[in-house]
């Protein structure tokens, strides 16, 4: 019997990693956009664009990797709208981000009708990592996944390294913390913000694409269902650190997987309450994270949401 329990848990945690991957990509993306000083509340909109194009291109080309790339680029393209409005035109970033969400949901509803309920003919295949997949518990959970999951591990680690150990990271952190000083020292503030906002969109697209390519390989209207907003909350939970983002993403992936599992098993709790769980827990966690951030005197990048204008004092 204990063996069966063991397998159930591994299946659950393995699903948690997959669900978490749909959050990990966009969370890391938003961390970098925010680190540069740009608040992009359009993650939900960028994710749904990524999800839609990822699905459609996979469906047409029958190649999930090309589809994934298409989803990534769709998210990036959507982010460029936000970048233009908030960096070049110095518009209100909160409203622009909301507009981006409305846009993504409207766009995919408008063009997505004929794809609704279609299932993807292909999906990404699982591949075990030699040696690592043999580690008890850790192996089957983290290293018997698909290539897109492994890519997310690499992205998290590489981005952590870039953030703290490279010139690019120094420029990025300076831009979000004190744009005037960065500019005076020769950092191109506008280019830095454009690039990282775009990068944030690429990763949001990746999260959406992973959803429709691997985690739930079909298309439903509005199927990101608030994952973009959870990702934005996770940025605070992660305290703007890509490795912390992994913890947050898998935690929420775990809750999501758990509630699906419970529904599948037919637990008597109504499904609407189980569905509510991730959002409720996000709310609770964000409250706790906010309090911790305050006590620890960590704060959001100082110029988050503030447009930069060189000639304005």
């Amino acid at each position: 019997m204990s063996g069966a329990h063991h397998i159930v848990l591994i299946v659950l945690f393995s699903a948690a990693v997959q669900s978490g991957t749909t959050l990990l990509y966009p969370t890391i993306g938003e961390i970098f956009a925010e680190r540069s000083g740009i608040l992009n509340l359009g993650v939900e909109g960028m994710m749904i664009m990524g999800a839609f194009f990822g699905f459609v291109v996979t469906y047409i080309t029958r190649n999930p990797y090309i589809g994934f790339l298409a989803g990534v680029l769709a998210g990036g393209a959507a982010a460029l709208i936000h970048a233009f409005v908030s960096i070049t035109l110095r518009g209100n970033q909160v409203v622009s981000g909301l507009a981006l969400t409305i846009f993504g949901l409207g766009f995919t509803n408008f063009y997505g009708q004929r794809w609704i309920n279609l299932r993807s003919p292909v999906t990404v295949s699982q591949m075990s990592v030699p040696l690592l997949s043999k580690i008890p518990y850790i192996g089957p959970i983290f290293f018997k996944q698909d290539a897109l999951v492994y890519t997310s591990y690499i992205v998290a680690i590489v981005m952590w390294f870039i953030l703290y150990k490279t010139k690019v990271g120094v420029h990025l952190r300076a831009t979000g913390q004190n744009a005037r000083a960065a500019d005076a020292m020769g950092v191109n503030v506008y280019a830095t913000r454009y690039w990282w906002t775009f990068f944030g969109g690429l990763l949001a697209g990746a999260g959406g694409a992973y959803l429709t390519i691997a985690y739930a390989p079909f298309w439903l209207d509005g199927m990101t269902a608030g994952r973009g907003w959870i990702a934005i909350a996770l940025v605070i939970f992660a305290m703007w650190d890509p490795l912390n983002a992994m913890v947050g993403a898998y935690l929420f992936g775990g809750i999501d997987a758990l509630q699906l599992q419970l529904q599948a098993v037919g637990v008597t709790i109504p499904s609407s309450l189980l569905n509510m769980l991730p959002y409720l827990l996000t709310l609770i966690v964000i409250i706790i994270a906010t309090l911790i951030v305050r006590v620890k005197h960590i704060s959001a990048p100082k110029e988050l949401g503030i447009p930069y204008n060189r000639e304005e004092k």
Partner: protein, 364 residues
């Protein structure tokens, strides 16, 4: 823009020009989107106009859609003035609908209509306000980001509604559909234009607009939220209670969103179900912004966007144009609107320095 260079006070004229241009560009971008789908956009817009404004009945449907937008945007303007980002009108609207429906569903149909409706109005406002107080408290005392908290509460509200509709509130006679039993006559808001669905809710909206206008323009509370919104440091310096103002403003905002939810179930749908159009909560944000947070101007934009929504609802069926087109047009309008504000600021500053320095001579 050149036309405006001559004017003394550009800010007022730009306040008309920018939203107008935004709407035109939004509609053009929508046209491109429709064209890309292989449909003739002129025909779509024609049908949309007919669907929204052509006859007394279709215009009445526009007013029906405008009513919740008027109510919600009036409340949002109060909180947006103080830079508090209530994105949660969606959830507050649902809560208003749930709270008021409780009495319609579980109270006797023989209670006098005036009493029943008064109780439902109060319940709707209380429901919305309670849902709004949560993020207000979290922000005021713990500085929890209100954008995230209000949004998460939207999803939670939706699942509360689903829980009730698939649970104890479902009408046993609904054949398993998630519908409550129909509201008895005493729980239905009276119609004010015969043969249409325009109901007392529209009057509530007009009252709300003027109450909010009065609050903002004439009262100490209006003055305080203006100061808090523009400079919270100055507000604290002057001894204003920022936390208290956040909470009061959110109670007003939530109550009006809740009232909109009540109006929708009691005045239009006449029962509680999962689809009660809470998206009005997002559209109202656009309404408020198009009006530069002026509640009276906002009510006109509410009629415009209400028309867009009700027209689009009809062409969705008749012309196979999915409702998402509304989101594309609305977001395009918003992008142009906030992107154009730079011209307003730029011009404003430019105008002050009217001194002309010309005729410099070149040396060296």
């Amino acid at each position: 823009m050149i036309r405006f260079e001559k004017r003394e006070s550009t800010s007022t004229s730009l306040k008309i020009l920018i939203p107008t241009v935004s709407i035109i560009l939004g509609i053009l971008i929508g046209a491109v989107a429709i064209l890309l789908k292989g449909i003739n956009p002129i025909k779509v817009y024609q049908a949309l106009l007919i669907g929204a404004y052509s006859s007394k009945y279709t215009f009445s449907e526009t007013l029906v859609a405008a009513t919740p937008l008027i109510l919600i945007s009036a409340g949002l303007i109060v909180v947006f003035k103080m830079n508090f980002w209530n994105i949660g009108a969606y959830g507050q609207y649902i809560m208003g609908a749930i709270f008021s429906s409780y009495f319609a569903i579980f109270w006797s149909p023989h209670i006098p209509k005036v009493i029943m409706l008064t109780v439902m109005v109060i319940a709707g406002m209380v429901g919305g306000a309670l849902w709004a107080i949560i993020p207000a408290l979290l922000k005021a005392y713990w500085e929890v980001n209100e954008v995230i908290s209000t949004l998460l509460l939207n999803y939670i509200a939706l699942f509360v509604l689903k829980f009730l509709m698939y649970g104890t509130w479902r009408d046993p006679l609904s054949h398993g559909f998630p519908l409550s039993k129909p509201f008895p006559n005493n729980a239905q808001l009276p119609r004010i234009i015969p043969h249409t669905r325009v109901n007392l809710g529209l009057i509530f909206g007009i009252i709300a607009v003027f109450v909010v206008w009065y609050l903002l323009k004439k009262t100490k509370f209006g003055y305080e939220i203006r100061v808090i919104g523009e400079n919270p440091n100055a507000a604290r310096y002057a001894g204003m209670n920022v936390a208290k103002n956040i909470i009061i403003a959110m109670i007003i905002s939530g109550a009006l969103a809740g009232l909109a939810g009540m109006v929708q179930v009691s005045g239009i749908i006449h029962l509680l179900q999962i689809k009660i159009n809470p998206d009005y909560g997002y559209t109202a944000i656009i309404v408020a912004w198009l009006a530069y947070l002026d509640p009276i101007v906002a009510s006109f934009f509410a009629v415009f966007l209400g028309g867009l929504a009700s027209g689009a609802y009809q062409i969705q069926i008749t012309m196979q144009v999915p409702f998402g087109i509304v989101g594309v047009i609305e977001s395009a309008i918003l992008f142009v609107l906030i992107g154009s504000e730079i011209f307003m600021r730029y011009r404003l500053v430019f105008d002050v320095g009217k001194k002309k320095h010309s005729g410099q001579e070149e040396t060296l």
